[in-house]
């Protein structure tokens, strides 16, 4: 195929700004759907739909006949919409020559949009600015246009006004894609280099890579090699994605599609990796490949110990289509056998947990998420600590380093004070402020990662009435004055409740965790003493008093079956609790720390 008839692009937008609806309309307009309107066809996982976000990127190939009657192949590459998946976004962007920037005309530019926009600009993508939802009463077309003009340094006329919902502006956008976005470079004669921008697992076909051909061609039956692993495979099938796979004999330079090559696991089709020819390989991979590193770690334990093997096999299966999930066996004195898992972020962790519960029907207990600390011992050794229980004893410990991030927070100016206060609470360091326009500012902060992984985003939203948006990337490790806080029930330490906290906050947290646990632990047959300690020093304590009365008054002939079933259900309810010593702990108790104000 001639590269000058191809356009590859993505859509950059904040959640809810209308990306999926716009994509749907483009598919409809180009007849890719066969004129059947299907809502938000790009998000094909239930969870994605429910959370209103796109987790995994996919692509779709459309045929578009322009005003001047030429037919172009447009490849839309979808991008994940959450900060946890920023690396995947960067690879999707790298696969394109252009991007449609969608901004909600009533809400304006948001932090994540900006950071993805900068990413697109760094990759020299042509940006087509679109103001969406212009027909809403609350639309502020002029104000938001001005923001976009300032950020992009463009003329106001370049902005397309649209309402994806009403189908307004779709043709203009498609025309702009053809006119403004450059075609791919024609490097057909070179050895194959294809960028994997996404991959999924199919139970029948194995790992399927979504690729963009930068050089050469990808032919069915040919031998290919993955740069990062050096493994070779034979291409079994290739083709375009038009919501389903459309088989083709080959993908040529500039094209976007899929590649099936009998790869057993998605770990071997890593996002960002380069596919080349096994016989005539390119000398270098495409730039930008990174091993994805988890940022957040947590223990996953089956509520019922008998489910351990099932949890293991479920994680194995999840890993098949999510290479960013890592796990290894973990043993907890309190919780028994489980797995220490690494996640890209808190959302990723919640998604995995929900998928285990929903798709694999497992009852899972999650321990408090932790970042990875570096603990330096007096003997000069550096220990990576992704689990508080691994922290060396105070006597051996020299100092601890923790990961820091750099964050952009875009917020209306009247909330700057609130953001500053929140940042102080979270040990943030103020760097500087850029004003996007008179009413909105971009605040640059540095925070310890541990301070933002729990509820920072929720707090940010609530302190700004939902207006603040947030994006971050990892900076470096820095020395911090941290201590390990242990929790004890009836004098017995519960390892799964240990938590690493800044020393200045430790007393306050000890008290708050104790009182939160008192709230969360239901009254039991026996009194439960709850204590928080640093080392051997108890810094806070509370008591969960014993139950006072729990007895059925009447139990005659007609009552017995009913009462028996009632008590059986009472017991069934307890199964969701974890027995630690004599104490029965509800699942929420293990995440008590997350619920502290």
């Amino acid at each position: 195929m001639q590269t000058n008839k191809i356009r590859n692009f993505c859509i950059i937008a904040h959640i809810d700004h209308g990306k999926s609806t716009l994509a749907d309309r483009m598919l409809e307009y180009t007849g890719t759907l066969g004129h059947v309107a299907v809502d938000q066809v790009l998000d094909d996982m239930d969870l994605e739909r429910e959370r209103g976000i796109t987790i995994k990127a996919h692509s779709v190939t459309m045929q578009y006949k322009t005003n001047d009657k030429n037919t172009y192949t447009l490849n839309l590459i979808d991008t994940p919409g959450h900060v946890d998946f920023s690396y995947e976004v960067s690879r999707s962007i790298a696969a394109c020559e252009g991007a449609i920037l969608v901004v909600d005309a009533s809400q304006g530019v948001e932090a994540q949009t900006i950071s993805n926009l900068y990413l697109a600009m760094e990759n020299d993508l042509t940006i087509i600015p679109v103001l969406n939802k212009v027909d809403l009463q609350s639309a502020q077309v002029e104000v938001v246009s001005k923001q976009v003009v300032d950020i992009l340094g463009i003329e106001p006329e370049e902005i397309i006004l649209a309402s994806a919902k009403a189908g307004k502006g779709i043709k203009e956008i498609l025309e702009a894609v053809v006119e403004r976005i450059p075609p791919p470079e024609d490097l057909a004669d070179k050895p194959l280099r294809a960028l994997i921008f996404d991959s999924i697992f199919d139970s029948y076909r194995g790992a399927i890579a979504y690729v963009r051909i930068f050089e050469g061609e990808l032919k069915t039956g040919s031998q290919i090699k993955f740069f990062s692993t050096g493994k070779t495979f034979e291409v079994a099938e290739t083709g375009h994605m038009q919501l389903r796979r459309i088989k083709k004999n080959k993908l040529t330079v500039g094209e976007v599609g899929y590649c099936i090559a009998g790869v057993k696991q998605v770990e071997d089709t890593k996002v960002g990796d380069t596919i080349t020819s096994a016989k005539k390989p390119a000398s270098e991979p495409l730039a930008g490949y990174e091993e994805v590193k988890p940022m957040v770690f947590s223990g996953l334990f089956p509520t019922d110990n008998d489910d351990y093997e099932e949890l293991r096999s479920s994680l194995e299966r999840l890993k098949l289509n999510d290479s960013s999930l890592i796990y290894e066996p973990e043993t907890s004195q309190a919780l028994g056998f489980g797995f220490r898992c690494g996640f890209l972020g808190l959302l990723h962790m919640e998604i995995i947990q929900e998928r285990l519960e929903r798709e694999y029907n497992l009852s899972i207990l999650t321990t408090v998420p932790s970042v990875e600390y570096k603990a330096y011992t007096k003997s000069g050794e550096c220990i990576l600590v992704d689990n508080p229980t691994l922290m060396p004893a105070a006597g051996e410990l020299d100092y601890i380093e923790e990961p820091f991030i750099s964050a952009d927070i875009i917020v209306p100016t009247e909330y700057i004070g609130n953001i500053m206060k929140l940042s102080m609470d979270r040990r943030g360091t103020y760097k500087n402020t850029e004003y996007i326009d008179r009413t909105r500012a971009n605040l640059h902060y540095e925070y310890p990662l541990a301070e933002i992984i729990f509820d920072f985003y929720d707090k940010l939203k609530s302190t700004s009435r939902g207006y603040a948006s947030f994006d971050y990337h990892l900076l470096d490790y820095r020395k911090s004055d941290l201590v390990k806080l242990d929790l004890m029930l009836n004098g017995e330490p519960v390892d799964a409740l240990s938590y690493i906290v800044h020393k200045d906050k430790s007393f306050d947290w000890g008290k708050k965790i104790c009182s939160k646990l008192k709230e969360l632990i239901p009254r039991q047959l026996f009194e439960v003493a709850v204590q928080a300690a640093i080392g051997h020093k108890v810094i806070a304590r509370t008591t969960v008093r014993a139950m006072r009365k729990n007895v059925t008054a009447k139990c005659y002939g007609g009552d017995i079956s009913r009462k028996r079933k009632l008590l059986e259900r009472q017991k069934e309810g307890k199964k969701r609790m974890k027995q630690v010593g004599k104490v029965e702990l509800p699942q929420e108790a293990f995440l008590a720390i997350l619920k502290i104000e």
Binding site: K554, Y556, G557, S561
Partner: protein, 398 residues
Amino acid sequence: MTAGLYIHIPFCEIRCGYCDFFTAANQEEQIPAYLQAICREIDLYSGTQEWQQQQFSTLYFGGGTPSLLTPTQIYDVITHAQKRFSFVSDSEITLEANPNTVNTAKLAACRHAGVNRLSLGVQSIHENELKFLDRDHTAKQSVSAFTAAQAAGFDNISLDLIYSLPKQQLQQWRQTLTHVVELAPQHISAYSLTYEEGTPLSTQLRKGRFAPASDERQRTLQLAAIDILGEHGLEQYEISNYAKPGYRSRHNQKYWDGSPYLGLGASSHSYLDNRRFWNVRNTAAYISALNQERLPVHGSEILTQDENEFESVYLGLRQSRGLQLTAFEQKTGVPFFQRYSSTLEKFFPPNIKQEQFQKELLGGSKSLNADLMQICDGYLRLTREGIMLCDAICSEFV
């Protein structure tokens, strides 16, 4: 083990807000047809071998308000039952009665009809409490009914009381208790008020019309009952039941010790050899089934081994004497210690050895005490503290 016969009389003049028994208010015109159906049901069961071979030792008219029946009607049912089934000569025959439905003459006639135990629904001596419970009698009528029963020759009288009403203070409950013990009944049943699903009172509770008594209050009131009744010779023998020596309800104990019982009338439950079954909860359907010579059974269950074991423990521990450990093994075929050693570790110091258990505790030569339960005389029983937490403790044995 001898069997018990229960006959449910669902008719009531009014329906009380707390009551979740199957009752039919204002349908007294159905009584004759209903009693005919009862007699048919007796005929059908007496024709089966499993019930024909049972020796009965109790008959219990429960309700509803069985005292709405005339003494003649009561006589007819009793004699029909005694004709068809085999009863021991000193059988206990109980009639539940509402204080405003009886007088000396009627009670004397009931006594002649064969009733030898009376259970009076007194509930409270405070008029405001009676009103809250929708009772259609006064405290004075309760006392009159009691003296009438004594005058009619009853020497085995039980009184029903209800406590833990919203706002009820210890003082009011003590007044009710001290007042009724002065009458010197042989037996008292004192129930903590429960808001059963579907009752008018539970609806009012859900709507927030009043606040239920706290656990702490309920506990205080129950302990007061145990103490005050105990001081007057009424010993607690089950969570809600107190009796003078020799006057425990023989019928009700059958429910707790695994004896067979046959329940006649709408909604009644029966139990025999691990099988429990129950009648349709509708008077018309009940009558119609028996008119067609069909048993009005609506459902049944056969207890699994686990259910059987758990019921033995639950019903055993509700009684003050506790669960007889050897009887558990006889009934279930499983040695108690083998089945529950890990559960016992939650209550007793760890590391009880099976050998010690079998040799010393089972036979009763030694005892073992803990906060919530003790093993003594070969019984596992709840302590005073344990009784308060009976359900939570028993659920550990599921």
